[in-house]
């Protein structure tokens, strides 16, 4: 049974977002890490980069495949989780805590309304 914290919003592409004021933290869901298994590499966007909602901005690699990570919202990348580049397994073991990818300063908070609630995400992954 996949873990889907109730205080987060989700993208169809399996990213989660935790909002705090005008910035938010982004990672990938428990479902996504379980699908990928064995994450061996994480490539984060450059700090200061401007991204649009739905834009590919990071890469997560398992043994078998490379997967694009899409920013759920538009804004500026303001912080990166360096530990996850040194220890990619954090994404598997702590997808909602130590395995976060980047923090983003929201340029258009209304975009959050287009994201999935925990219940809708649960439906999407067949829970």
């Amino acid at each position: 049974m996949s873990n889907i914290p109730s205080d987060l919003k989700y993208a169809k592409s399996h990213e989660w977002i935790r909002v705090s004021g005008d910035t938010a933290t982004v990672g990938i869901s428990d479902h996504a890490q379980a699908e990928l298994t064995d994450i061996v590499f994480v490539e984060l966007p450059a700090a200061g980069r401007q991204v649009k909602a739905g834009e590919a901005c990071a890469v997560v690699e398992s043994v078998k495949t490379a997967s694009d990570i899409y920013s759920p919202v538009s804004g500026e990348i303001v912080a990166l989780n360096k530990p996850v580049t040194d220890n990619p397994a954090l994404v598997n073991t702590e997808p909602y805590a130590g395995g976060w990818f980047f923090k983003i300063k929201l340029s258009n908070p209304a975009e959050l309304n287009a994201l999935l609630s925990p219940e809708d995400y649960k439906k999407q992954i067949g829970g």
Binding site: T37, D38, K64
Partner: protein, 375 residues
């Protein structure tokens, strides 16, 4: 039309395997984790469903002559109960398939071919047989057989108990583990006789077992039960690929194809130029004598980077010179590894190269094969 399924499909489902489309077959890519399954084979034992692979039987007084013409290795070297790795080339020396050829008895041969190449191989063999005037019966037996590979250093500790007793045809031995590398024996088994060879695609000691659907279902069950205290794990195609990449075994469609010769791919050892005429002989003789324009190398990443993957460009001296054919993060070595083609001047071990990953270049070094040395 749906994907093809092997006799072990429901077993894979029950084990919770992640199933993928592999060349039209619905096959397990992993059961738990590619890394865990890979390490199980390196340290203990793993079992793979290889039922999708193809089998061809050839018999008749001229079967040996025919095979020595269509295959590159010298099949006359085989005694009954022995097999050899070999390649089947077209007239340009390009590889149609790489395969194992076994002599079961005088005039009776058994080929195990890649799943993805069953159709072109059989078509080629039939067209070659049509031009051949000799006593030969050729049969595509792929639909008749299921198969498993059981691989790892601990397999020899329990495999005899899985298929008890000695062989009664091909190589005569008192037990499975008396087979030497590349030997094959026919073993009676209560659910259907099986052919067992001491061969594999992982670099580890192990066996490949071919038989009817029912026999192989029981072999699978026995191996998982009896092998349990030895650490056996079911393993999918993901681990199969990382294991063979570590020991630099070619995969058809990656290191080998119809535009690539065995010499270019570094398997010239299995081309016997002095056995007489065979398909591709003149091109391969010329390459052995005068060299090749592209050479397969193995490499290791030296910069911290994402894993190298097929089709990533290879750079040398600031110029794009080739492409990665196979690449992965090595579960045994924890570094990116791979193989690819480069011009021969960049093929020496210790040559510095770069791999282009998503538009950026990362340092790597050419290494001797195999990249991982089995203990």
């Amino acid at each position: 039309m749906g994907l093809k399924r092997t006799a072990l499909f429901s077993t894979h489902q029950k084990l919770g395997a992640k199933l993928i489309d592999f060349g039209g077959w619905e096959m397990p890519v992993q059961y738990t984790s590619i890394t865990d399954e890979h390490l199980a084979v390196r340290n203990a034992a793993g079992i793979f469903d290889i039922s999708h692979m193809g089998e061809v039987t050839l018999s008749g007084a001229d079967a040996e002559k025919f095979l020595n013409f269509v295959l590159t290795n010298d099949i006359r070297k085989l005694v009954p109960g022995e097999g050899q790795y070999t390649l089947m080339c077209n007239e340009r020396g390009g590889v149609i398939d790489d395969l194992y050829a076994y002599k079961l008895s005088d005039g009776v041969y058994f080929l195990i071919i890649n799943a993805s190449r069953i159709e072109p191989d059989v078509a080629w063999l039939k067209s070659q047989a049509a031009k051949f005037s000799g006593e030969l019966i050729l049969t595509d037996a792929s639909h008749q057989y299921a198969a498993v590979a059981v691989q790892g250093p601990r397999v020899k500790e329990f495999i005899d108990a899985c298929i008890p007793g000695g062989s009664n045809c091909a190589m005569r031995v008192a037990r499975v583990t008396d087979l030497k590398k590349n030997q094959i024996g026919g073993f009676p088994f209560e659910h259907g006789d099986v052919l067992i060879s001491r061969t594999g695609y992982t670099g580890e000691d192990g066996f490949e077992i071919v038989g009817s659907d029912e026999a192989i279902q029981h072999v699978w069950k026995n191996v998982l039960e009896i092998g349990k205290p030895f650490g056996i794990k079911p393993c999918g195609l993901g681990a199969r690929d990382t294991l063979r990449t570590e020991v630099c075994y070619p995969l058809y469609g990656h290191e080998l194809d119809e535009e690539t010769t065995p010499i270019e791919a570094g398997v010239g050892f299995f081309v016997s130029l002095d056995k007489g005429e065979f398909n591709g002989h003149s091109v391969l003789a010329e390459q052995k004598a005068n060299g090749v324009k592209k050479k397969l190398v193995a490499f290791k990443m030296t910069d911290k980077s994402a894993p190298p993957r097929p089709h990533y460009p290879i750079w040398a001296n600031g110029v794009s010179v080739g492409e990665v054919t196979s690449g992965t993060q090595s579960p045994s070595l924890n570094v990116g590894i791979g193989m690819g083609f480069v011009p021969p001047e960049f093929a020496k071990p210790d040559t510095k190269i770069e791999i282009e990953i998503r538009g950026k270049r990362f340092a790597a070094v050419v290494v001797q094969k195999p990249i991982y040395k089995v203990r």
